[in-house]
């Protein structure tokens, strides 16, 4: 039995029944990483020594009959923009190449407190800016389904590692689709939780009003288990929502009878690849046959979501990334004339092209004379998009659509044209703009055998409904079970 190929809930079960030992699970994953990660490139940093020690400690506790956390002995990958105490956190940037955080991000602390094993740090687009993981300063990550293709991004390493059975689950972050699109491209389950549901303390900030951390897992049940571990109020994050968080595993019921699901016409119209469209519509049919009520409706505001998103995200990024000045931490240029020049040279040498492009765009949108025309205008359009979602949720329990307009594309295919890359976010950015939860579940394969994920969008704090629909779909199909033949 290849332990690394099992789901989280399967391994959890075997460990608790003492049929397998934690170190066997960890060794199976590191064995897999050693065999294939030079081809996939999911990892930026391995945490092997520390992980083996944790495995030993957890097994000892288990043998002593001590009570363990909900993720006891489960190997996890962490996107490299979440701080891990004593373990390099680079954001896939030259700027943070040697940065060793003095503390754990709240999510990392939470995983550790549930006895998960931190296997290493996952590749990503630099500062989470991109949709293919090609913007990493260090290396490219490849899609386990086809090594010529991108894994999606920006959480590309997190998605690829789960798809390739190198880890059992991973954490990613999602500012405009960065968990959901790679989940779709790699054929795994990905959830962007409601804004405020998961603490961002220790997440290197990209766009603070949009960023959320969430799980990438092998199936919907695993997603609910990880979500239970990471949600919750945190006084260290002033945008953390102080509400009661339910037990998400209670939503894992195989029943959608009577649930009303809306499909936005604009999500299945022009620009959507035919294979993706038929897979998503077939999934809708399947849910209908299981008792859900499916209806099409219109969301005309969605065509304004991308321009509004890029203004808001870049404006916030330009402000957040101002902290990288070559003084307190991060890269410092070796040649400069004075303090101002030190800032300029360090930032210019430390940041990659896409990061600079977005800082420029954001600085422009916030500068005198353009603030109202660009930034403030985008914030007003944000209100309109939120209103449209409110209207939709007055009628529907959740919204169903595609995650991305295409399946995984070839490396280099889109990296030349930034605007073309931005348009790939057409179905995902609206969810961040409105702060809603979005769940991606594998729902088919295209003619080249590349995975397709459908996206379920819910009301704020409505993760339970999404998990229920996703779980029901998964119990009545087998797309989540298929594995790449690498």
């Amino acid at each position: 039995m290849d332990l690394n190929k099992l789901t989280l809930h399967e391994i959890k079960n075997l460990i608790s029944k003492k049929e397998v030992k934690v170190d066997e699970v960890v060794a199976a994953c590191y064995g897999r990483i050693e065999n294939i990660d030079d081809k996939i490139g999911s990892f930026l940093t391995l945490n092997k020594e520390d992980a083996l020690r944790s495995a030993f400690d957890i097994q000892k506790k288990l043998d002593n009959g001590e009570k363990l956390g909900s993720l006891a002995g489960i190997p996890a990958g962490i996107k490299d923009n979440m701080c891990t105490e004593g373990l390099k956190t680079t954001c896939a940037s030259k700027m943070l190449e040697n940065f060793i955080p003095p503390y754990d991000a709240t999510v990392v602390k939470k995983l550790k407190s549930q006895d998960a094993i931190i296997m290493g740090k996952m590749n990503m687009d630099e500062f989470a800016m991109g949709g293919s993981t090609e913007n990493s300063y260090f290396k490219k990550t490849r899609n386990p389904w086809d090594l010529e293709r991108v894994p999606g991004g920006s959480s590309g390493g997190s998605a690829a590692s789960v798809a390739a059975d190198e880890v059992i689950f991973s954490l990613g972050s999602d500012t405009g689709g960065s968990i959901r699109q790679p989940a779709s491209f790699c054929g795994v389950v990905g959830l962007k939780p409601t804004y405020g549901a998961v603490s961002r303390y220790g997440l290197v900030a990209f766009a603070s009003s949009l960023d959320q951390i969430g799980p990438l897992t092998k199936d919907v049940e695993d997603c609910a288990i990880v979500l239970n571990a990471i949600t919750g109020y945190d006084k260290m994050d002033s945008t953390s929502a102080n509400v009661k968080y339910p037990d998400y595993t209670a939503s894992l019921v195989n029943d959608v009878k009577g649930l009303k699901i809306g499909i936005p016409k604009e999500f299945i119209g022009e620009g959507l690849n035919e294979d993706v469209k038929s897979a998503v519509l077939a999934a809708a049919k399947k849910l209908e046959s299981l008792g859900a009520i499916i209806e099409e409706f219109s969301m005309p505001m969605n065509e304004y979501a991308i321009p509004a998103y890029y203004m808001i995200a870049c404006a916030e990024a330009s402000s957040n990334l101002a902290r990288f000045d070559g003084i307190k931490y991060g890269y410092r240029a070796s040649n400069y004339t004075d303090l101002l020049d030190l800032y300029k040279q360090s930032r210019s040498e430390g940041f990659g092209d896409e990061v600079k492009r977005r800082i420029m765009l954001g600085t422009y949108a916030l500068s005198a004379g353009y603030y109202d025309a660009y930034y403030n205008k985008a914030l007003k359009v944000r209100t309109l998009i939120m209103n449209e979602f409110d209207n939709a949720f007055a009628k529907y329990d959740c919204i169903l659509g595609p995650t991305a307009p295409t399946t995984a594309y070839k490396l280099g295919e889109k990296s030349e044209n930034p605007l073309e890359m931005y348009l790939g976010d057409i179905y995902t950015v609206c969810v961040n703009i409105a702060g809603l939860p979005g769940l991606v579940v594998p729902c088919g394969f295209d003619s080249k055998d590349l995975p397709i994920g459908m996206q379920l969008i819910g009301k704020a704090f409505g993760e339970g409904t999404l998990l229920r629909v996703g779980y029901t779909f998964e119990q009545n199909s087998d797309f989540s079970k298929r594995k790449p033949s690498i």
């Binding site: 040697n98 060793i100 003095p102 503390y103 405020g196 009003s209 006084k235 002033s238 945008t239 929502a241 065509e303 304004y304 321009p307 509004a308 890029y310 330009s318 101002a322 000045d325 003084i327 307190k328 931490y329 991060g330 890269y331 410092r332 400069y336 004075d338 303090l339 101002l340 020049d341 800032y343 300029k344 040279q345 930032r347 210019s348 940041f351 600079k356 492009r357 800082i359 420029m360 765009l361 600085t363 422009y364 500068s367 025309a373 660009y374 403030n376 205008k377 914030l379 007003k380 359009v381 944000r382 209100t383 309109l384 939120m386 930034p418 605007l419 931005y422 409105a434 702060g435 704020a460």
Partner: protein
């Protein structure tokens, strides 16, 4: 909206970036294309619409003014590119 080369150079200055001639040239085109696309937003009448900064209904978040443990100075300084005697080192700023 198209953007001029001078505007790009000015924004770079504001953003504390130093861009080569070639990059300024390229960004002038790329940012111009992106901003032209963003101009789409002007199709919408937002005269009476309130802007949304962020989606949660949270305003000021205060905490009690209590002292608590902070990080160890050495640990914080260990990430500084240059430090000396417990301080960050910067070029001379006062003549």
């Amino acid at each position: 909206m198209k953007i001029t080369k001078e505007a790009v150079e000015n924004v770079a200055k504001l953003a504390r970036l130093s861009l080569s001639e070639e990059v300024v040239e390229r960004f002038t085109h790329e940012l111009g294309d992106i901003l032209t696309y963003v101009d789409k937003l002007s199709e919408l009448d937002t005269e009476n619409v309130k802007p949304t900064q962020h989606v949660l209904d949270i305003k000021n978040v205060f905490r009690e003014d209590e002292t608590s443990e902070s990080y160890d100075r050495e640990k914080i300084l260990s990430n500084a590119p240059v430090s000396e005697n417990g301080c960050f080192i910067v070029p001379k700023v006062v003549e």
